[in-house]
Amino acid sequence: MSDFYHVSSSPHVRAKDTTGRIMLYVIIGLLPTSLFGIYNFGYKALILILVTIASCVASEWVFNKIVHKKNTIGDLSAVVTGLLLALNLPATLPWWQAVLGGVFAIVVVKMLFGGLGQNFMNPALGARCFLLIAFAANMTSFEINAYTGATPLAAMRAGEAVNAMDMLIGRTAGTIGETSAIAILIGAIFLILMGVIDLRIPASYIITFVIFILLFGGYGFDINYVTAQLCGGGLMLGAFFMATDYVTSPITPRGQILFGICCGIFTGLFRCFGANAEGVSFAIILSNILVPLIEKYTVPRAFGQVKESKKAEGGK
């Protein structure tokens, strides 16, 4: 019997997208950022990226071995987590702290909650926040061209002028992957074209953040200030690569927009009124925690379904 007559239950049409394939697209999307980070911060950045990825993949493998589960490192999600985590670390971080971060991301944030698809928080961001609290000194010392400098956001907070053009290209101090807005945008456009992410979360995130900054930033409508806030810190990387994580963002379209708005408001709050100059990672993690609630209230109406309240009116 030929395949043509093969009888099976639905679905009959399957997309080629597997988890591994999507993760591969994300890795390709992160390549420009990674390459620019290595170019900007030198071989240290390359070593840190490789160490973090190795740590993530190894801890997933070891965890699955210990609890006798099928091994899942083939779906590349651990590689993406490792790469994203490394892009969120300063290039000068000692390698063992990066390894610890990788273990924390995979074992505590992801695997203990049931593995890919079950974690309520972005593993890379969870680990970054863990490292930020655990090794505050190492995580906030940024070095570029062999001298230690403040990040543009910290400089702006101290009242110094910053060059928005430098920040757009990325020749500034910061974590490995956050400095170049252009490199991130190239990767993001690739992901959008491939249909891996859509614009709902990043757009609502960034628009909300800009509105917040215009209202409460204290500079009014200053194009240089707004550009610097947009390109500074982890906002671009966070909006396009972390907030859009399938597992930890809402699945409903309206929920995604609401989620982006939450991220934007939190980021603005932390940056304008918080103790630190940067707040993207904490903002996204907080919004991750709100996701179940957001999804509960944004379930789309099925075709032909009548609202409960209207039904009651009709019955009168």
């Binding site: 000692p94 702290q97 610890l100 863990f130 609290i133 655990a134 090794f135 505050a136 190492n138």
Partner: protein, 238 residues
């Protein structure tokens, strides 16, 4: 086993308040930033627990059933006040670092739990040993948590630098609030592994019933509890 020793074993291991019953979590998470704090908190709770069990057990026939909770609280609160004054007089630095958690021993659920479920129904001597066992179990739990947090978060054990700062970077998250949760979770996991091993060996440690009061009608968990006692006070098999 001797019934007094059995009480000690019960409090230290079988129904360890920190790792098995999960009682008194508030001081467990809040004051264990160093081993000495954990030890101090544990010992002061033990003192209160032993004496409250003694007094409540001695007065169990005089205390009317309807007002037993206020009566227990009065006994416990008086004892806590005594302990607090003694600590302020002789260990002022420890008293400062434990702060509000010393007065809060009054509402510690281990103490009221033992008073309600054991001391108010049993003679004086077993009650004292019950209090001692539970108190020591609590002390061991808090000291262990404090030990790990201090070691990882500052490289110290009881205030002595054991990991040299020349090569060790303190993981400061462990002396902060999230570290308490991480360490507690790991230690409970270890305890559960031990329990499983003992079960497999055929020497079960007895699963925790989670039953604090033994009084199903007045228990807040009554709606969801799966181990309800029948009229003749034997636990139903699940």
């Amino acid at each position: 086993m001797n019934k007094y020793l059995e009480r000690l074993y019960n409090g230290l291991i079988k129904e360890n308040p920190t790792f098995v019953l999960m009682l008194g979590m508030c001081p467990t998470l809040a004051v264990t930033s160093s081993a000495i704090n954990g030890l101090g908190m544990g010992l002061s709770t033990t003192v209160v627990l032993v004496f409250s069990n003694l007094l409540i057990s001695a007065f169990r026939k005089v205390i009317p059933d309807g007002v037993r909770m206020p009566a227990f609280i009065v006994v416990v609160a008086s004892l806590v006040t005594v302990v607090q004054f003694i600590m302020q007089a002789y260990t002022p630095s420890l008293s400062d670092s434990l702060g509000v958690y010393i007065p809060l021993i009054v509402v510690n659920c281990i103490i009221l739990g033992r008073a309600e479920s054991y001391a108010s129904k049993n003679p004086v001597l077993p009650s004292i040993f019950d209090g001692l066992g539970m108190g020591l179990g609590f002390t061991v739990g808090l000291t262990l948590i404090g030990l790990f947090r201090e070691l990882l978060g500052a490289g110290q054990i009881f205030g002595f630098q054991v990991l040299s700062l020349s090569w060790f970077t303190p993981i400061t998250i462990f002396v902060m609030a999230p570290g308490a949760f991480l360490v507690l979770a790991c230690l409970v996991a270890v305890m559960n592994i031990v329990r499983k091993k003992m079960d497999a060996k055929g020497k079960p440690l007895a699963a925790p019933t989670g039953c604090i009061t033994g009084d199903c009608a007045g228990c807040g968990m009554s709606a969801t509890c799966t181990g309800k006692r029948t009229a003749d006070h034997t636990v139903k098999t699940e």
